[in-house]
Point group: none
Chain length 246, copies 2
DNA sequence: CCTGACTGTCACATCAGTGTCACATTCATC
DNA sequence: GATGAATGTGACACTGATGTGACAGTCAGG
């Protein structure tokens, strides 16, 4: 009975945080969770990279020194992959590793914090970075082409006409709208929309996408249907995209 | 139960006030209550944020320095969430923290007061801010489509015809009318209408909504019933909406 | 005590949204 | 084009959420 706020929050912001120091990890994770973020943790560089690719979080927090792969390297890898290259990153480093600040920002980190810092400080930075790099996350309407989605009223309209969507379809569309162009695999959709650990067939995603497409494209008046904004990437997944390459 | 005074119309305005100084908190809370506001208090930043998300008050008063999370941070968080981003905020700070005024207004506060000030002064500011940012609240009537609700007389009419509502139904409708379109979860309704901490079944909300709908839609004369203005958002809650899709 | 207005809970009827199948299409590749 | 795999989609049974009438409890005012 107390999940209301998180559940009610229209868009859950996903944070991936990686640190090999277990206490630190738990402390920060707890604080982020308390602030309404959906947190995933990793305790070494390799794991961080794996989780990042899989979850496509909205922001990633990396410790500088980690086993198996340093934060710097993780950062480089993330920046090299098209799906993750735009995810904002905050680097953390222990005092004494300073001077690396330049290097950190150099490999593409969006912010850099030196330990020790208070969890509050981190939460504030996260918010600041998100506002800077993903303003759409903070907005109360998601738009793409002639499509508008209003999280507060759980309403969608296309070309001015209201569209009725089921909860799942609504969530899928919200997700796609957060990063137009980004291809989401069936597994990523299952994770984000159905929740991690829920078990349903992959094909279920297809069916929901079919329903979503039908709802979005069918025009009530007898006019011709609207162009499809959802692109199927064979072997990969789905993405929002205008001007389908036929 | 029939006080008639100018403050009557303010009965439904909810104020959240957060200050870690207990005396101050009680003093201000008392004065606001005396002026007809419905007051909720919080004694630290985190609590303020939680209460704010849960209650969606009409105005929030934040002390600058508080344990667990500063007023500034609370402000940032509130501004970042779609549901709370439009709630007006008044920041309070002790003398000596001045100069932060800019920062306060920067993170989105609507007004800024330096301690010490008289409770009367605060009440005046609250009134001013509300008039500026939520004129509908200061009006004598809440309207939506052909529906009118008069807070002062606790009466409702639809399409000119008076509608009799029970207290609970009236409160529910008041809430919905304050933010047409906004989806309220059963839990939010329970908090607002029944009060925080009161335990009743979720389903009770459904029953009251059913009664409310019946009261609003049934036309006394034999004419056809009126269209339903309350939208059920399956899995989420209820909201006011004209032109129900479908 | 009664009465009438309001409430909170149940129980039962419905219904919308889901997950799967099965079969039709499309696509990449040879 | 032939072929196998991937995707599109109508149909359908099922389940959990919601709508609502009925009923008993509470409370203020006679």
């Amino acid at each position: 009975m107390n999940f209301v706020n998180i559940e009610q929050r229209l868009m859950t912001i996903r944070v991936l945080i990686a640190d090999d120091e277990q206490n630190q990890l738990e402390l920060l994770s707890f604080n982020l969770t308390q602030n309404g973020y959906s947190v995933t943790t990793a305790s070494d560089g390799q794991e961080a990279l794996d989780r990042a690719e899989e979850l496509l979080p909205d922001i990633i927090i990396l410790d500088w020194m980690m086993p198996r792969m340093s934060g710097i390297d993780v950062c480089r890898h993330l920046r090299a992959m098209p799906e993750t290259k735009d995810i904002p990153i905050i680097m953390l480093s222990a005092r004494g590793e300073e001077g690396d600040r330049t290097l950190g920002l150099d490999v593409g980190a969006d912010d850099y914090m030196t330990k020790p810092f208070s969890p509050r400080e981190l939460v504030a930075r996260v918010r600041a970075v998100l506002r800077r790099s993903r303003p759409s996350l903070m907005s109360d309407v998601l738009e793409f082409e002639d499509l508008k989605l209003f999280p507060a009223s759980k309403t969608v309209e296309r070309d001015g006409e209201a569209i009725a969507l089921g909860p799942k379809e609504f969530k899928i569309l919200s997700l796609l709208l957060e990063r137009p162009g980004q291809v989401y695999s069936r597994n990523q959709l299952l994770d984000h929309v159905w929740g991690h650990g829920v078990y349903v067939e992959d094909r279920t995603v297809d069916v929901h996408l079919s329903r979503l497409r039908k709802a979005l494209n069918t025009r009530k008046g007898r006019g011709a249907d609207r162009p499809d904004l959802i692109r199927t990437v064979r072997g990969s997944g789905y993405a929002l995209m205008a001007n389908q390459p036929q």
